[in-house]
């Protein structure tokens, strides 16, 4: 089974969307610049969103945007095409409104049948998530070890704030 299909009905907060894109993206062959392709982070996704390369979030849970399968496909397709030498502007003007089935078929073909390990052997530093828990105090979490970093930080930050001298 293609690893992509596991995400068909998944709902992904931004952190998980990035994580999925990093893991799956590693399975897409690169036609050009390896460095460009590897870079997916939350800033990237937000930028894609502001240009319409990624649709607006499907829904919100409180203040957290929840993304889905189509968003994941859009991130993967954009990254792969960028790695193949297309400019973001070209990708933007051609991918606008392309239906999910077409997008899925193309991304599935790009992924092939390569099985991607669910946990990357060496987590890329990009996948780390940083939170500013108090002014000037940053906490870095590895989501591969703590699958729900937001909940973790929410639980920790009152204690940390209290401990600030």
């Amino acid at each position: 089974m293609n690893p992509l299909h596991a995400y068909r009905h998944r709902e992904l907060p931004l952190v998980e969307l990035v994580l999925a894109a990093v893991q799956l993206g590693a399975g897409i062959p690169s036609a050009g610049d390896e460095r460009v392709r590897a870079e997916v982070d939350e800033r990237t996704v937000r930028y894609y969103q502001s240009t319409g390369l990624v649709d607006r979030p499907g829904r919100y849970e409180g203040r957290t945007a929840i993304y889905g399968y189509r968003h994941l496909l859009q991130v993967l397709a954009t990254k792969a095409l960028q790695g193949a030498g297309f400019s973001l502007a070209q990708v933007q003007s051609s991918l606008a409104g392309v239906g999910t089935p077409d997008l899925e078929a193309a991304v599935v073909r790009a992924l092939g049948e390569v099985v991607v390990p669910v946990v990357p052997p060496a987590p890329a530093p990009r996948a780390l998530v940083q939170f500013e828990v108090a002014p000037g105090l940053w906490l870095t979490v590895d989501p591969a070890i703590h699958p729900d970093p937001i909940a973790l930080v929410a639980a920790l930050s009152p204690h940390l704030k209290r401990s600030i001298p």
Binding site: Y47, T51, R56, Y60, R63, F86, S87, S94, G99, V114
Partner: protein
Amino acid sequence: MTTLPATATLDTGTRGDLGGLIALVAGRETAFPLQRVSVRAQIAGAVARTEIEMVFRNALTAPMEAVHIFPLPPGAVVTEVQLWCGELVVQAECREREEAERTFAEARNRGHRAALLTAERADVHTLRVTLLPPGEAVRVRIVLMEVLKAEDGCFQWRFPTVVAPRFMPGRATGRSGPGVADDTDRVPDASRISPPLRLQDGTPLDLEVAFLGAPARLSSSLHALRLELEGGVRVAPNGTQTCDRDFVLAFCWAGAEGGHRAWTDGETTLMLVDPPAAATGAMPRDAVFLIDISGSMQGQKLQAAKRALRTALRGLVPGDRMRLIAFDDHVVPHTDTFTPFDDATLLAAEAFVDRLRTRGGTEMLAPIRDALAGERPDGRLRTVLLITDGEAGNENELAAAVAHRREGARFFTLGIDTAVNAALLEQLARVGGGACTLCTPADDIEAVVAGIEARFGSPVADDVRVEGECAHPEGRTLFAGQPLALLLRGAPAEVVATGRTAQGPARWAAAPQRTSFSLGAPWAKERIQWLEDRLTLRPFEEEAIVPEIRRIALAAGVASRFTAFVAVERTRQIDGTVQEVVQPVELPVMWVAEQAPSEMACSATSTAGAASPSGAGMCSGIDWDADSIWERASMREQSAAPAPARPAPQRVRAPMSWAAPSFSGPEHAEAGVARASLATLVQRQEANGSWGNDPLRTAAALLVLLRAGHTRLAGLRKRAVQKAAAWLAQHLAIVEVAGALRQLAAVEAGGDYEHLPSALLRAAGAEGAMLTS
């Protein structure tokens, strides 16, 4: 530790390939629905009727719903919408907004093509066209009516073509609209006013203005103009244009030299009250200057803003006090209290202005509150001048803050941008008892500030109203150089406006001419605008005001925040799942774009938007994040590739032979070279109005200015002349000084300049030397 399956590490599965993805991109035409925008405006008297045609095409394989978020002039009102499917025309109906949205959704469910036009703000509108069949196109035609702004003897028609990215303060709450910004607690409709950013190319714009009459002194600060004189005067931007900046057309009517004027369509009458030339009150001022240094002001816009601020500072006189406040997402005050205006404080203020750099978001609420707060001594007038592009989404919050100012403060705005948020800046001035001036970074900033200085301070007349059912039921304020448009029901043979001036009650009359344009919609727009301003000031009266707006808008058949246009084409049924595409729009010209994260050597780890306070405030196009601005600034210095050059804005004027008899002041007559030396001359003027505290040098400088056509009453540099003359009045015992002041009075009384400088004056420093040359 578990062992990973062999396939994972050995990579022996079927290798994927990019063929499928590349096929989606390579050689494909653009999938953006908006093909082109055509604008045809007709201008007669003080009214413009504009027809906009937008062509939407579906390049996808499934039916499309195209969404376009676009601006209209904030003073304009939509009176008609048509949906053209081939030769089939469907006239849209004006309904209550909720009902129109329901009708539209039903049409989509039934497979019918439909169009929906809604107004989000006075300027920002949304057009939805649904069930566009694959490979087909539809046209949407929108008709607007608008009363033009008049300023300093000219009319200005400003047509915006793009909604610029606005800073959305507050915490994200969700997404109710089609845009790319999250709604926040402070901008609950952010997602309705934030179109996606287009990365390359733009939507072709085909714009033409036809004059019903003979215009003169045409100019456009952001476009080069092309003129057609066959069959009436028509003006268009020269060359191919896209929707990336406002079209700003200034003109006046040949032979119409000011004065009060009126037009009527038989049911509604428009009167233009021309401000009489009157000396404004000499009350000492407490002047606050607010300057926007947020990321969106980067580049030429900040340069223009600094220039405006420096010029405005020099317009103060001894006895005034000043305060400078710069702001981005922090308030950066120059001083915490007012300082008296003198040489030392002027120098310090200028040094502060020089040091300003752009960074961060546009958080205007705190500095506006700061500017209006504090003690207000009797006998002093508090004036606030806000210099900004106005690109913030929390307009309502800002207008409320200004509207709740205490008596005795006046709020002025100077908008500098290629795609300025005119709706906000006009509203702030309206509710703040001040005046709004809009310009572009390509304008002559000194001339713009000279115009503001005439208005800065006390108005020419207060409580201006017209007998009859006026669209604006309260008295209005009349400022120097900005004629006031008053709309009233009925068609009297003579319209009479009254007002209160410093000299006592005044009465102005005009006999209306017939106009072929209907004035009913502009009347409704004016009344709705008044009600909207009232709603800002008194949100608790919502239950009375909103139904009133709805009633007026429905009766006049115009779009408002509570009414919308909907058209449904029922003859054909279209099958398939509809795919929504939101039209991305260009970044306005002269804006500095955010780079794509992957296009910069990003070294930082990612930050989580949900937890970071800066995450919610992000907006497309411009990175408002302070830290990354610095990061990028250093990046850009290293990068060898220069930013793509944009065509430089040009300014053209109508051929001389065709222009009206010149009634322009020295502003326009002054030659460029002489003007530059005058600029340096004025920069040497001390805060007290003298040159080096020397009566002879000051008299010489006054005569240099006078020779170039500047007096206390006219010319770009009247402020400098006023200050010099006031200072010289203490030194009347010196013969040269008395002579210079006599000469000034003679020129002001209509005489010619005919001064022969004495040897003593000719020797009076650099100013004396200028007088000799």
